[in-house]
């Protein structure tokens, strides 16, 4: 009886209702587990309570609390609102912003248990991931993103006032279309300052003097038949920084006809796109991390008697829904659920660390039985992205459990072919194929600016390096080239090239700009 009373005293809350005092108390309890016991390293949090309408609002502009205005957000809002009101979709329980402090939106309709779950998930799971994953560290600046968005919003609305809403809209339309081709995929050097620039120049001259050899000068020049070694072309490419895969960056810097403010808008869209790039590369891991963290925290809260059995059941119910993965032939199947996959892999990791089988020791010799689940998790969260994470950690046991199989879809054949299944001979292949599915570089067409006809009509030439024989979808491509031409101000052409044979597979001839933006 006394034990019962004691455990009751430890309870954080009973019942479904919540208030600010309770939210704070529960947050502190979660923080104790997450930071003191698990050693997580999240950003400080700011919990914001919003209504469901505000959640809908937040949906429409990429989940960001403040954003410039554009009709496409209105379009998404109109659609989301209709789906929501017709009961076709529910709302997310939370939205979390990669910022410092980390903003977590929680909905007023949620029960106290759901608020607990959401805080554990977002304010500790996601937040830890944002703060520690190397992609986020390299590409995003959590301290200043909100300030930057505020600047962007003001800048765009000032432009609307000064140059007219439709002029701004045209630039934004084109920029949004190119958004996924507005990221630097590899980190660049820091911008150099002028002193360093002079230093570099001197050094280059010194190197040329030292390595000068008259012998080279007398070598006959190669005939420039194939174009690749045309010195003019090389010089031009070098001066324009070609080839360039970041189309927005290229246009911002090189498009001849754009006004200053138009370049700035391209830059804004590009920076936003760059900010979201890590999120697109780490969906499975990010959700996996957050789900794993909330699962651990909720279990711990229950173990220590801080939440009731009823609350724990409610949590399990919600959790099970979140990590549900239907089979491919199930009516509910719509691809692989990133929550389920991420959570599944991380739970497997825990098992491999704590109770490995012989198979695990063969597959994961360096971590099997190391008894340091948390450390292993944290390393994974910090140093991988979806593709490498799956390639490294998807275990044969999970593949068996999920009965994963890989299907080859070759449009030249009438039938699909099962390439590999969850058996000893297929594990590696299935794993490789699944990892590749999460490789954005494979997923998105590799399109580069290769040349500009500076002597002639200033035509911008693009090249699509075709992967696996997959050509671009034509209707979209035509619209995209129109957008590119509008920004560039002169005709644009695109060739699709097989990278192995350098054969041209398809060409889109000069697409003229439809309107002059400048």
């Amino acid at each position: 009886m006394t034990g019962r009373l004691e455990s009751d005293a430890r309870l954080l809350y009973t019942g479904a209702d919540w208030d600010y005092r309770l939210v704070r108390k529960v947050f502190d309890a979660i923080e104790h587990i997450a930071v003191d016991e698990m050693g997580l390293n999240p950003y400080p949090s700011q919990i914001e309570v919003i209504s469901s309408e505000q959640m809908l609002d937040a949906y429409s502009s990429m989940g960001m609390p403040l954003f410039y205005r554009h009709w496409s957000f209105g379009k998404h809002f109109a659609r989301d609102e209709m789906y929501y009101r017709k009961g076709m979709t529910g709302l997310a329980y939370e939205i979390v912003i990669n910022s410092n402090p980390c903003l977590c939106y929680i909905m007023e309709e949620n029960t106290m248990t759901m608020q607990t779950l959401v805080m554990a998930h977002a304010a500790f799971g996601h937040s830890h991931f944002f703060r520690n994953n190397h992609l986020f560290q390299t590409w995003t600046d959590a301290d200043s993103i909100l300030d930057y968005l505020d600047f962007a919003k003001r800048y765009v609305s000032e432009c609307e006032e000064r140059y007219g809403a439709s002029a701004v809209e045209r630039v934004l339309d084109s920029a949004h279309a190119l958004m996924s081709h507005g990221v630097h995929r590899y980190p660049r050097r820091q911008p150099l300052n002028l002193k360093q620039e002079i230093e570099r120049e001197r050094e280059r001259r010194r190197f040329e003097e030292q390595s000068f050899s008259d012998l080279w000068r007398t070598l006959p020049r190669r005939e420039t038949e194939d174009g690749a070694s045309d010195p003019d072309l090389d010089a031009r490419r070098a001066s324009l920084g070609l080839p360039e895969e970041n189309l927005l960056y290229f246009l911002e810097k090189r498009a001849p006809r754009l006004a200053h403010w138009q370049r700035e808008i391209l830059r804004i869209v590009r920076i936003v796109s760059q900010y979201f790039y890590p999120q697109r590369q780490t969906k499975v891991m990010n959700e996996g991390c957050a789900t794993t963290v909330h699962y651990a925290i909720m279990n711990r809260l229950h173990e220590t008697g801080q939440i009731t059995d009823g609350a724990f059941m409610e949590f399990l119910h919600a959790h099970t829904n979140v990590v549900f993965q239907p089979d491919f032939d199930d009516r509910r199947f719509s691809g692989i659920n990133p929550y389920a996959l991420g959570f599944g892999i991380l739970q497997e990791l825990k098992r491999v660390c704590e109770a490995p089988t012989g198979e695990d020791r063969r597959w994961f010799p360096d971590i099997a039985g190391n008894a340091d689940t948390l450390g292993t998790w944290k390393t994974a969260w910090a140093e991988y992205r979806d593709e490498s994470f799956i390639l490294q950690f998807l275990s044969p046991r999970l593949m068996r459990q999920w009965r994963l199989f890989s299907v080859l879809d070759d449009t030249d054949n009438d039938a699909l072919e099962v390439e590999a299944i969850h058996d000893e001979t297929g594990f590696r292949e299935v794993r490789r194929a699944l990892a590749a599915q999460y490789d954005l570089a494979r997923h998105e067409p590799d399109i580069q600016v290769v040349d500009v006809d500076l002597g002639g009509d200033r035509r911008l030439m693009l090249e699509h390096r075709v992967l696996d024989g997959r050509l671009l979808e034509e209707r979209n491509t035509r619209m995209m080239l129109r957008h590119l031409a509008n920004l560039w101000g002169y005709p644009v052409s695109l060739t699709e090239v097989d990278p192995k044979s350098e054969h041209v597979l398809n060409t889109y001839e000069d697409v003229e700009p439809e309107l002059r933006l400048a």
Binding site: W71, K75, R85, F333, I336, D409
Partner: protein, 426 residues
């Protein structure tokens, strides 16, 4: 220390500006869709609530460079293998590699976009179609004044609105059901006890009677005459303020010379008149009368969409209207508005009768009579027979508005006449 912020009181509709931009962007498509809807809606339903509209998505696409589905090789890793082994062939599911084991998702571009416009947005767009001036738009879309109206009874309310009849009825039925002793019953007992006491006989019976009397008094004390649960109050709800009622007669020539376009113009005219009337009157009835050489009251569907053949006589329509008024709409209780749409034809022999009926019967009944003539410009022979007759009536000072309507923008000026205060009319 965690920071908890309540954002619920922040302004809602943060995305309103985006929505307005979207509607402006899709204006042409939305206007087309609204035109279709207003053609489909009944006259009386034009101002009804929100509507899900579907618009083609040209100009609304957000293109991106994406790989097509019809070339090259793709691999899909999916869960839930039941029977397959490596090397098995699976017949390609319908729709290329869209669904099934290849469920790649990520839609291949949408052709249609569906969303909901609110009532206000709908009306705004409807007016836009009619090219209404701003002022009239605000007048029309303004929500009418609210008044208070009785609406049944409630169990709570202010003492002033206590409904005595209901309350007493409840009280009575409760007293009956619980067998509350009647006053007469107790008085009767008193008399009996009195009699027995005085006679001194039957003390046993006396004691019994006294006990019964005590039980009755106790019972009547326990079951109150009026209990709080009996109380009923008159309930009032805010309703649009009743101004009055109106009936709107729609007369239309449906003979073969009226084309679908003309009918569509007429329908818009009727819709707009209805909207105006709805603002002014609590209740608006609509009567549809079509005519060729015979006239007939019909429902809306028949009115707009059924085809009739025959000559053109206007007077039967006027007579039919007079009949309906006589039977159902006494002019003392109803404001009568008439809207007539025609291409202006009439059989010459009928003209004198039309003039007479209008002057003697119809116009005295009507608060207003609007005539719109739809159709082609007639060149040198500008005046149609009907127009000539009506012009004579206008000259005689009758409340009659005449307009030729060739396109939708012509419709509104008719209403300017109709709703300009009398003293401002020239």
């Amino acid at each position: 220390m965690v920071n908890i912020v309540d954002r619920r009181l922040n302004p809602k509709d943060k995305s309103l500006a985006n929505r307005q931009r979207f509607i402006r962007r899709a204006k042409r498509q939305i206007l087309d869709a609204v035109r279709d809807i207003s053609a489909r809606r009944r006259v009386g339903e034009v101002a009804q609530g929100e509507e899900a509209i579907r618009i083609p998505s040209d100009g609304l696409q957000e293109p991106s460079f994406r790989k097509g589905a019809d070339s090259g090789i793709r691999r899909h890793v999916v869960p839930g293998n039941k029977e397959y082994r490596a090397g098995d062939a699976i017949p390609r599911p319908d729709g290329g590699g869209g669904q099934g084991p290849g469920g790649s998702g990520g839609g291949e571009g949408e052709d249609e976009f569906q969303f909901t416009v609110s009532r206000d947005e709908f009306l705004d767009l409807f007016f836009e179609n009619l090219e209404l001036p701003e002022l009239a738009r605000t007048q029309l879309s303004k929500v009418e004044q609210q008044g208070i109206q009785r609406a049944g009874f409630s169990a709570s309310g202010s003492p002033a609105s206590l409904n005595l009849t209901r309350t007493m009825r409840n009280s009575l039925s409760r007293r009956l059901a619980l067998h509350r002793p009647k006053r007469d019953e107790i008085l009767e007992l008193d008399r009996e006890i009195d009699r027995l006491e005085r006679s001194g006989k039957d003390p046993e019976g006396l004691r019994e009677l006294v006990r019964r009397r005590e039980a009755l008094t106790r019972r009547s004390r326990l079951i109150p005459y009026i209990d709080p649960i009996d109380l009923r109050y008159n309930r009032f709800v805010p309703t649009p303020r009743p101004i009055s009622q109106a009936v709107m007669f729609c007369l239309m020539d449906v003979s073969g010379s009226m084309t679908e376009d003309m009918k569509d113009l007429a329908k818009r005219f009727f819709m707009l008149l209805y909207l105006f009337l709805e603002r002014r009157y609590r209740h608006v009835d609509i009567v549809f009368i079509r005519h060729t050489h015979v006239a007939q009251e019909v429902d809306e569907e028949t009115f707009f969409y059924s085809r009739e053949t025959g000559g053109t006589l206007v007077s039967p329509a006027l007579e039919e209207m007079e009949r309906v008024v006589r039977e159902r709409y006494p002019p003392a209780e109803w404001n009568i508005y008439t809207a007539q749409a025609s291409d202006g034809d009439n059989t010459p022999s009928d003209n004198p009768l039309v003039l007479r009926t209008m002057e003697a019967v119809i116009l005295p009944l009507c608060r207003y009579f609007a005539y719109i003539e739809v159709g082609e410009e007639r060149g040198w022979k500008a005046k149609t027979p009907l127009w000539e007759i009506y012009e004579r009536l206008v000259a005689g000072g009758h409340p009659l508005a005449l307009r030729k309507v060739r396109q939708r923008a012509d419709i509104f000026p008719v209403f300017r006449d109709l709703f300009t205060p009398a003293q401002l009319r020239s």
